[in-house]
Subunit: 335 residues, 2 copies
DNA sequence: TCCGGTTATCGAACCGGTTCGATTTTTATC
DNA sequence: GATAAAAATCGAACCGGTTCGATAACCGGA
């Protein structure tokens, strides 16, 4: 592999001139620039990114830390970020924390050791320790999905209150009163906001929430399954179930199928967030989805702005909150 | 951030001794080792991975290049590789080529520039140029999923012939004769092997394959949808459809639903490879699945072996082929 | 006590770039 | 043609480690 010294030797200039010419042509005379350029071509020189990062103290890489790369929600965001970064000569390193705080922190520290230019983080935890950790990150960064109280950073996400409220309103409009809610972990902002959307919409419609109809599904498939079962074995069953995310809602569908309930005949179901292949799932689930492409675009643009625009790094953090979209299915019937 | 010189100063030894002590304790006397260790702790020294990689000419990172990180098939492999790598103090960088050859090559070259210790690659292409490219990679590597003719590297994958044959045999046993096959791109080894499994099993059962029943679904959802439609509008419809992968099969299910066909009442359906949430899809699709966890484990072990065991890098390439597993559903009926 | 052979430590060169102050060359002005 | 200012180029130090040949300290045996 050719080094910058090979280029310098061939072009008969000093190493520093080559470096200057490559990073800042225009500060070099026309003819030396040409000599250097042809020398670069002749030896097939490509700068070593490692050496560059070491010397500059920062690389051209962007870290993306998510809880589950398999989640299509993150997939769209990844794609947008990658494409946008590539246009700006940056390279995205994807890492997966599996939703574990320890792993996440290790990954972030590793990425910082790699002197990444920026970080897109989907927070996986909360609390003072966690906030302290995130606040200690000095690299340009954008948080997304999960808004964490106390973290003063750019945030990009959806209006989760609205998401919960929209589906609740939809069910109320269809005449449902016995509406159950499979909640997520309440310490998570997305979960508590969705729940708040449910509760407040019920309240303003003057419908009481039966405490037995609110169960904790932890946003996971297994907990959601158990929670759904608890709902389905009650003597006075709900007429509709609102899943706070895709995993708990589909787990509820599974539970319903296994117990022989018909959806929407016996029980209506709706959920927040899409899944792949939702259009071949019977019934088509009524849902509220996030505009992941747009979210990804905002994350990408904001992060690159902080990285590349001088002075932008000092700008105060900003929240970008998008409205989710209602996608009707045929899993909710009028009662 | 503390550097190795800070440690050396505090421990009153030379920089080289510190480096030696850290990478090879045992070659350093007990008392200096202790002095160095406490100095490390005192200043909170952590070696800069970038500088280390530059000096050593190789890093502790492993590159994983796949066509679609959202595919659960890759998800399991990623997880296994990550866990295993972590145990061996390596760090996995995930990248997504979106199945594009150009992108894949750029990613690989970038990773090599980062001086990765090893590479796990799911090839996205084929042909002489591509083989030349892959063969030019000098980093320890393991290919998986797609076996490419001409590439002399370790390969880990499933017996795709068997996968196709198993499902074909299943349909034959149920009495089907008019069996349709939605194929993948025939230049891909997985696709052609699955097809071969279908054709040869049909032949040895003495059942003729109707050419109109073999359509090209490109392994994609959109092409699979079109292909399925072509099957469904024929006057003499097949009684069963075998999808060469999950995308084309589910696209076929969608097409059937949209045209009002009942599965398995009107047409039976089965597929190769699972998807997330397949258990809430009605009907439960009969399928043959790969043991992704095991595949991931083999990939991880083999790659780490080549990386860490001296001499292992020179071992001749080896193929690891696992048998897929039959998972019965209720999407195939007896005729 | 002297010698040969280990074992421990050190210094210097190196990995491949960047950066900045100093020096040289060019250009403009008088 | 001399001179100041501007532009181009260079040299050396640096980023933070590793590596290897050389030197120094230590050991047991003659």
């Amino acid at each position: 592999m050719a080094t910058i010294r090979d280029v310098a030797r061939l072009a008969e200039v000093s190493v520093s001139t080559v470096s200057l010419a490559l990073s800042n042509p225009g500060r070099v005379s026309q003819k030396t620039l040409e000599r250097i350029r042809s020398a670069v071509a002749a030896v097939g020189y490509v700068a070593d990114p490692l050496a560059q990062s070491l010397a500059r103290g920062r690389s051209k890489m962007i870290g993306l830390v998510v809880g589950n790369v398999g989640n299509p929600f993150f997939g769209d965001i990844r794609r947008e970020l990658e494409n946008y970064a590539l246009e700006h000569e940056h390279f995205v390193l994807i890492t997966d924390s599996s939703g574990k705080r320890e792993r996440e922190q290790a990954l972030v520290e590793h990425l910082i050791g790699l002197k990444i230019a920026g970080l897109a983080l989907a927070p996986s935890s909360f609390g003072p320790d966690y906030v302290r950790f995130v606040e200690s990150i000095k690299v340009p960064m954008v948080c997304f999905d999960q808004k964490v109280k106390g973290i003063e950073r750019d945030f990009v996400g959806s209006d989760n209150y609205l998401a919960g409220a929209m589906l609740t309103e939809h069910l109320l409009q269809l005449g449902h009163r016995r509406i159950a809610f499979i909640a997520g972990p309440q310490h998570m902002h997305t979960a508590s906001e969705r729940y708040r959307g449910f509760v407040e919409t019920m309240a303003s419609a003057g419908v009481e929430v039966n405490p037995n109809y609110v169960v904790d599904g932890q946003f996971t498939r297994s907990a959601g399954y158990e929670a759904a079962m608890r709902l389905l074995i009650q003597p006075e069953r709900p007429t509709a179930i609102l899943g706070a995310n895709n995993a708990v809602a589909l787990a509820a569908l599974q539970a319903m199928q296994e117990l022989g309930f018909n959806c929407p005949g016996d029980i209506s179901l709706c959920m927040i967030d899409d899944v792949q292949w939702s259009n071949v799932i019977t019934p088509r689930i009524t849902m509220v989805v996030q505009d992941t492409l747009k979210l990804g675009g905002i994350i990408a643009r904001r992060l690159l702005q902080r990285i590349t625009t001088p002075g932008a790094a000092a700008e105060p953090p900003q929240d970008f909150v998008l409205s989710p979209k209602f996608v009707p299915g045929n899993s909710c019937r009028r009662v």
